[in-house]
Symmetry: C2
């Protein structure tokens, strides 16, 4: 099918947001993805950006579809050798994935901005969409749990997101500025999409960067969200558990309530048909379709349905 | 054969010195290797220590015997992916070798000394010998050439040591202190050995660290060198070319002249039998034997012959 001549800006974490980005990249001529960087961490002395990488690998057609992160068919010679040297290799990185971390870390240390390095990588991998870090400054999600405050990767990877979430802190976000091009991409797009990413730890930090929430509130673009909660459960990861822990309804309606004033339309799954009128009562229209995404064709199908409903 | 109950301290670069270290480790009960760190560099943002690693991999039985550096059978998935990301991957590092660089870099950045990290790696790899960096401070060999001053790895790897050497600078060496245990290992050993390493860029920086040359001059130990020049040629690398370029005789005699006052005995190859009396005239005894080393048994053979002649 021909690409739709619209400009779309998608706010995304990894996972579901990356899949929708993949579908959008196939569906439209002009795609910008604004990506959460508050999951970024320094691991083994290397600057890792898990959400940026998942979107990048997904758009390059290289993402590992089983794990949801890393590169399909990657090997693990380096990490195994690190274990042998006595390193606690709690954060798994494949050999090709490590190349991304090594080169990014070296370029950042040499003074490049994360947005520059991301643009370089996108060009090298032949990615047509613009991938924009939400900010070039350091923002670090920290998770308050009964065991104390944990860094995000500590909570997510080392503890396998099993701790009850009492609260979230986006350390550094007050001083962060939107990355180059982020605000313009939101105010000039035909459609701004909030991807089916975790509202708290993927979309939350993006919206917490001063200026981004306001840009979404004020953009003349159509604003469409895709619920990451289907049938009362997360498609992946701890979104449902966080909704519950933070006293929200664990459903697409709970998601809709988080985005009141920010969305003109919410896309929900067929399983959640019964929530339509309650969501409409919040002041947004609803598109009901199949949102549990399969391969590239299915991702493009959702992108096209969304854009058709939004126009 | 039973291990010889002597303590030996060996000064070494990579290459020939590492092979002799391997033989010594099999021959004696107590071995310390003091290793050149002036080849160290930051490559892709990682702290690489080529001579330390060659000795370490050789003693662990993992060295790549074809290249003379790196790990036998290592793969190159990461470096290939780095090239794909647009990095100029001029310095090849295998995947398992990269693990060493990543972990070392992270631990150094976290405040550990190079000597500590080296001891941790040695323990993890089951190496019984003590591997001591010549210093924990940064010393960087720079090579003056007709094309200007080059960093050592730039000269050695990127330019394949093809530039004429006009002079050498060991940047930072005046302020460097011998690494922990280095002086004690030289003054308390039964035998101190200068390995068959490049006298200028492997042994030279070690002796240039304030205090080390004096310790070698004054130690009560027997002091034995092994010539890296056989039949007027380098066993490996640019030692012969450097002797010529810096106006020294390109022979074991030329090597002997560099070490006058530092050695009681020089080990030379059978091919250089005719140099014995000229070397003896410099005030050192000579052991003539087969010095072009093969596998582990041959390395041990040379170590035992050397120690027998020294005692």
């Amino acid at each position: 099918m021909p690409a739709i001549s619209q400009s779309v800006t998608l706010l995304s974490g990894g996972g579901g947001g990356a899949k929708l980005a993949h579908g959008m990249a196939r569906a439209v001529e002009d795609l910008t993805v604004v990506i959460n960087t508050a999951d970024d961490a320094v691991v083994y002395g290397l600057s890792v950006s898990p959400d940026l990488d998942t979107v990048m690998y997904t758009l390059a057609g290289e993402a590992n579809s089983v794990t949801g992160w890393g590169i399909e068919g990657d090997t693990h010679a380096t990490i195994e050798a690190m274990v042998r040297l006595g390193e606690d290799a709690w954060f798994s990185l494949g050999d090709r994935d490590l190349a991304t971390q090594i080169v990014r870390s070296a370029r950042l240390r040499a003074g490049a901005a994360l947005s520059e390095v991301t643009a370089q990588f996108s060009a090298a991998l032949g990615i047509g969409a613009r991938l924009l870090p939400m900010t070039d400054e350091r923002v670090a999600t920290q998770v308050d749990t009964p065991a104390g405050r944990l860094g995000f990767q500590e909570y997510f990877v080392a503890h396998r997101h099993s701790d009850k979430v009492l609260g979230l802190v986006f350390d550094g976000v007050e001083r962060a500025r939107p990355g180059p091009g982020v605000l313009a991409a939101m105010t000039t797009a035909d459609v701004v999409v909030i991807g089916p990413s975790n509202p708290f730890v993927s979309i939350g930090p993006i919206l917490a960067v001063p200026g981004i929430r306001e840009a979404l509130e004020e953009t003349p673009a159509r604003r469409v969200g895709v619920s990451p909660i289907v049938g009362g459960r997360s498609l992946k990861g701890p979104a449902a558990a966080m909704l519950a822990a933070l006293d929200h309804e664990v459903s697409a309606l709970g998601v809709a309530r988080l985005y009141v004033g920010l969305l003109d339309m919410l896309v929900i799954d067929e399983q959640d048909q019964d929530l339509v009128s309650a969501i409409e009562a919040l002041g947004m229209s609803v598109l009901v379709t199949q949102t549990v995404l399969g391969g590239a064709d299915d991702r493009e199908r959702l992108a096209r349905e969304l854009l058709m409903a939004a126009s």
